[in-house]
């Protein structure tokens, strides 16, 4: 036991002794994350399936509902998230190429700032206005006259909108927490040219959250006809 611990301590490079070699360790780490992401795909998948059914049943209500959202903010937030995916990829690359920890931390902080920008735009300019306009589920809907007979289904669209973007925003908040941890690890000099698994694994998560938004944007905001 003490022997194994000594070996591990003497090896600051993050290689765990139970693996044959580093390649096997990296493959195992990636596989674990991909299995988790598979469960995440199905987690969001339930909402996407429900969305598909209700949109096929009530296309008119979804059209009205989508016009309650501002394409402007959806598009800006898509750009913000794509930028954050790029900066995340660059953070991992700077570790892979053995850059100084300051470079890694800078890319990570940039990613966090972009994530925070996304959440700020979403909360301040979208959800807050929906709350004020009484089209947020849970705070009493005020049906607009132009909704007509579609009113209950328009309310359902807004429920889909809030549950899907809400679950997505929750993932963003978790992602920012993970990025904070990565910053601390980077500051302590944990990452080297050979050991950057936490960065890579968290990157997969961050990109996954980006992909969810890539689908949410056209499905929620871009129903114009």
């Amino acid at each position: 036991m003490s022997d194994a611990a000594t070996v591990h301590d003497a090896n600051p490079t993050g290689f765990a002794h139970q693996f044959e070699d580093l390649e096997q360790q990296r493959d195992a780490g990636r596989l674990g994350m991909w299995v988790f992401l598979a469960t995440e795909i199905l987690f969001f998948g339930g909402l996407f399936a429900a969305y598909t059914i209700y949109r096929s049943l009530h296309p008119q209500a979804f059209l009205i509902g989508s016009h309650l959202l501002e394409v402007k903010f959806g598009a800006i937030n898509t750009v913000v998230l794509i930028c954050s995916s790029f900066t995340m990829a660059m953070a991992i690359r700077s570790a892979q190429t053995g850059r100084k920890k300051g470079t890694i931390i800078s890319w990570l902080i940039l990613t966090m700032l972009l994530g925070a920008t996304f959440l700020f735009l979403k909360f301040r300019f979208e959800w807050y206005h929906d709350y004020v306009d009484h089209i947020m589920p849970g705070f009493g809907f005020h049906n607009m006259p132009q909704w007509g007979a579609n009113a209950p289904q328009v309310q359902m669209f807004m429920c889909f909108y809030f549950f899907m973007t809400g679950l997505h925003a929750l993932h963003m908040i978790v992602g920012i927490g993970i990025l904070t941890t990565l910053c601390i690890m980077a500051a302590r000099g944990k990452f080297t040219k050979h050991y950057f698994a936490p960065l890579e694994i968290s990157g997969l998560y961050w990109h996954f959250v980006d992909i969810v938004w890539i689908f949410l944007f056209p499905l929620l905001y871009l129903i114009r006809y």
């Binding site: 070699d21 580093l22 871009l222």
Partner: protein, 127 residues
């Protein structure tokens, strides 16, 4: 034990991760931004039923770019790839079978249940 550690230490230095060039990341980044502009523009053109199909096609292309390059699936073969394919396949099953159920519930001209089983027998008498 020691031979294992020594071997691992040797492999450690030898093993080289595939490093994606910055130009590839930049190219993917710009392609994603262009696709976002394109999908937003197309949404405001009246294509009838094709609007949603085009929007989803563009989204799938964007997601594929992210998965292949940002998530390194192009460079990492093997189990992680199979896991991804399995997850997408399962998502397809989830949506296909749910839709197959829901969309075929509203065919009959007769009510469901026992009446639905019996009434068609008297169809020629009623009509």
């Amino acid at each position: 034990m020691s031979t294992h550690e020594e071997k691992a230490a040797q492999n450690y230095e030898l093993y080289e991760e595939h490093i994606v060039p910055v130009s590839t990341y930049l190219g993917v980044f710009i392609a994603l931004l262009c696709a976002t502009a394109l999908t937003t523009w197309i949404a405001f053109q009246d294509l009838g039923q094709w609007n949603v199909i085009v929007a989803l096609l563009i989204a799938v292309c964007k997601a594929t770019l992210v998965v292949l390059f940002f998530m390194h699936v192009k460079y990492n073969k093997g189990l992680s790839r199979i896991t991804l394919i399995a997850a997408v396949f399962w998502l397809g099953l989830l949506i296909t079978f749910t839709l197959a159920d829901e969309l075929t519930r509203h065919w009959e001209i007769y009510p469901r249940g026992w009446a639905g089983a019996i009434l068609p027998m008297f169809h020629h008498l009623i009509f």
